[in-house]
């Protein structure tokens, strides 16, 4: 299960942002994940409850936007939804296809709460 490593990298990115923007805390963290990302959203949610412990993110919540897996055929141009283990053109069944969407593993948005004046003390990390 590598989702904990992925989640720890996420929290590092989020905390860096919170520090830069001088936020007091982090609210909703929104991710965008596709089925080809290699990350299991459920496991990531589980890992999140462990990884969020620490400065800024103790009360943060996670929202995952699921990106559909869409492919486009290089031979007939047809486009459609696919499954990771069946990525054949919906029109002509060719395997010469390009991924239009579905490999995303993105930090989309972070809600920053309670921004403080720049002079106040940083929480200890």
């Amino acid at each position: 299960m590598h989702e904990l490593s992925v989640c720890q990298a996420l929290m590092a990115q989020v905390r860096e942002l919170a520090a830069q923007r001088d936020a007091g805390a982090v609210g909703v963290i929104t991710l965008r994940i596709g089925p080809l990302s290699g990350v299991e959203p459920e496991l990531l949610e589980h890992a999140f409850t462990i990884a969020r412990e620490g400065p800024w993110t103790g009360r943060a919540t996670l929202t995952i936007e699921h990106v559909p897996l869409i492919i486009r055929c290089r031979e007939c141009g047809e486009q459609g939804v696919a499954r990771p283990n069946r990525m054949l053109c919906p029109g002509c069944e060719s395997y010469h296809v390009d991924v239009v969407s579905g490999d995303e593993l993105l930090l989309a948005r972070v809600e920053l709460l309670d921004a403080r004046p720049a002079t106040s003390a940083e929480p200890t990390v």
Binding site: Q13, H96, L106, L113
Partner: protein, 246 residues
């Protein structure tokens, strides 16, 4: 502990959160790893080394393939191996016994190598030794068909082994891993006549259904058909890489 920011400063309390400000980020979650991987890749390119990341289930013959490769390339190509395992130096020891330069990374409980681990290994295991460079560096990843696929190490090519003693439908079960491959090696091919439940055509179909035209070759390290196809593929890749960085 302050319940808002989670810090451990006693009596630290934030006022109730005001309306939050939402910041658009749109940055890859693997950003830090990818950054380290790009750094590794620059280093490999400067050294003129082709780097191949070998991935598979445990026991599909990665180390055996490397032992045989080292024998076949002795005297013509300088190779080195970085081994990734949860515990033990066994695989690196096996390769060293055959005269191969090898370095072991033990990951503890981590199920994959990442770019930082490889970076650290390169500090202890330089690509240039006694004034001689390395033609090909193999990184033998932790045996696992899930996690290693998510971590770029800075390699130029991914090779995924599927041994004939596994199911021929593995590509359908682990699509992300097999899609990441630049080459798929059906290892232990000498056993095919003995196995009635591994169908090469079915394995190939299972790969094509992932929407990729990745080349598929067969090997049997030390037995017929041995590793001729593998060596030919590697030589072609080495030439291509040299042209790319020339």
């Amino acid at each position: 502990m302050c319940e808002t920011c989670g810090c451990s400063i006693p009596d630290h309390h934030h006022p109730a959160p005001a309306d939050g400000e939402t910041v658009e980020v749109l940055k890859g979650l693997m950003h830090a790893n990818d950054h380290a991987a790009a750094h590794n890749r620059e280093h490999f390119d400067r050294s003129g080394t082709l780097v191949i990341n070998l991935m598979s289930s445990p026991g599909s013959g990665k180390t055996r393939l490397l032992e045989r490769t080292a024998e076949a390339l002795a005297g013509s190509r300088r190779i080195a191996v970085i081994e990734g395992d949860l515990e033990t130096e066994n695989d690196a020891d096996r390769l060293r016994a055959g005269g191969v330069r090898a370095h072991q990374i033990t990951t503890g409980s981590a199920c994959h190598l990442d770019a930082h681990l490889v970076h650290r290994a390169l500090h202890e295991f330089p690509l240039v030794e006694n004034g001689q460079g390395t033609d090909i560096l193999f990184i033998e990843n932790v045996g696992n068909l899930v996690c290693p696929a998510a971590f770029d190490l800075g390699q130029h090519l991914n090779v995924v082994l599927l041994s004939t003693t596994e199911g021929d439908d593995k590509p359908a079960k682990y699509p992300v891993m097999f899609r990441a491959a630049d080459l798929i090696v059906l290892s232990k091919a000498d056993l095919l006549p003995l196995l009635d439940d591994f169908d090469v055509e079915r394995a190939e179909r299972s790969v094509r259904q992932l929407g990729v035209d990745t080349p598929i070759i067969q090997t049997a390290a030390g037995r017929e058909p041995d590793i001729a196809q593998w060596l030919a593929w590697m030589e072609a890749q080495l030439e291509q890489r040299r042209r790319a960085v020339a």
